[in-house]
Amino acid sequence: MNDISEPARDTDQAAARRPEDFEAIIEARTRELTEALEQKTALLHEVDHRVKNNLQLISSLLLLQNRRVTDPALKASLRGMLGRVNAIATVHRRLFQSEDVERFDVSAFIRDMVADLMGSASRDDIRIELDLERVEIPAAKAAPFALVVNELLTNALRHGFPEGRGGRIFVGVRRENGDFRIEIADDGVGFDKDTTPPGFGLTIVQLLCQQLKAKSETTDAEPGARVVVLLPVNGAR
């Protein structure tokens, strides 16, 4: 594929002396550029399609493996990974849906994630409350952000509410002083103040918050736990 952005100088200069040829040159050039743009757009769609299919492949592999495994700890591990892949898959399902490929709609994403997580958990005794402002983040931040939300939600579900103990999970997203404030709170059993070293999930959250230059704070919600993540709007901190 030729790189069409190189100007064709010699022919232009030679023929530009005759005004009627000038127009023909512009027309031909415009046609070339339009075709090139169409080719690149088609390629972009193809890549997007491949990414979505490949994410599906990864999910399927994990699901198939999980079916064969009987050890509960191993199954739990695989499910955890599946949840993370799903979070990334949810990002890609929504990325490029709007006309603006640079921005990612956080509230729409959270609704998808919540529906999926709550649906698979099938806990009728856990209620979820959403208070989501329409917030957009750069597409590059979408996957790390999605992984953070996935870990925090999964944590609330799994650790806050052991079998038999129901309650409520709140997810709130709003702008606050040049930051995006994401809050995930539950009224469950709360966390152990005598902290053991953070599990893999919380380590992921810490690392990704570093990457996103976001601050995260966990407090006792009495009862339950509250995590607030402050994500800078313009990437600076």
Partner: protein, 154 residues
């Protein structure tokens, strides 16, 4: 699920996805008729086996032929097609006669609930409730199953 188990045909050229779908189909109480990887194979199997439901990817081993497959299955084979594709926006407005689409990448939970929902709709002739997340119904089917006029959501 009431009544006889639904016969479902899988039209998908990625083997791993197809096998996983077979598991999900059986888990919701339907019956898998097998998998077709090309449009010819799909139409052939549909004509022979008369699936109630066909899960159809748009991109098959012989190219983007899934839309035509869906059209043939609904018009000639008496079955209902459901698209499972990453290219939701490229589907024709009439969904080529299919009842709807599940966008890729889909979640296990999403497919399970969609299959149960559609099994109910196909057997009872109306929807049990609002459309589950992850499934988009074709306007014609939304109407048919008593859900009124739905805007098309990607």
């Amino acid at each position: 699920m009431t009544g006889r188990a639904l016969d479902v045909l899988i039209v998908e050229d990625e083997m791993l996805l197809a096998i996983e779908l077979e598991h999900l189909i059986e888990e919701v109480g339907c019956h898998s008729l097998g998998c077709a990887m090309s449009s010819d194979e799909a139409v052939d199997l549909a004509e022979k086996l008369h699936p109630d439901l066909a899960l159809v990817d748009v991109h098959l081993s012989d190219g983007p032929t899934g839309v035509e497959v869906a059209r043939k299955i609904s018009s000639d084979c008496g079955g209902v097609a459901l698209f499972m594709t990453a290219n939701v926006k490229r589907l024709p407005d009439d969904y080529a006669g299919a009842c709807g689409v599940i966008g890729k990448p889909y979640s296990e939970h999403g497919v399970r609930t969609a299959l149960s929902y559609l099994a109910y709709c196909l057997q009872e002739g109306h929807a049990p409730g609002p459309v589950p997340v992850g499934l988009t119904l074709a306007p014609a089917y939304a109407q048919l199953w008593g859900l009124g006029n739905l805007p098309r959501i990607a």
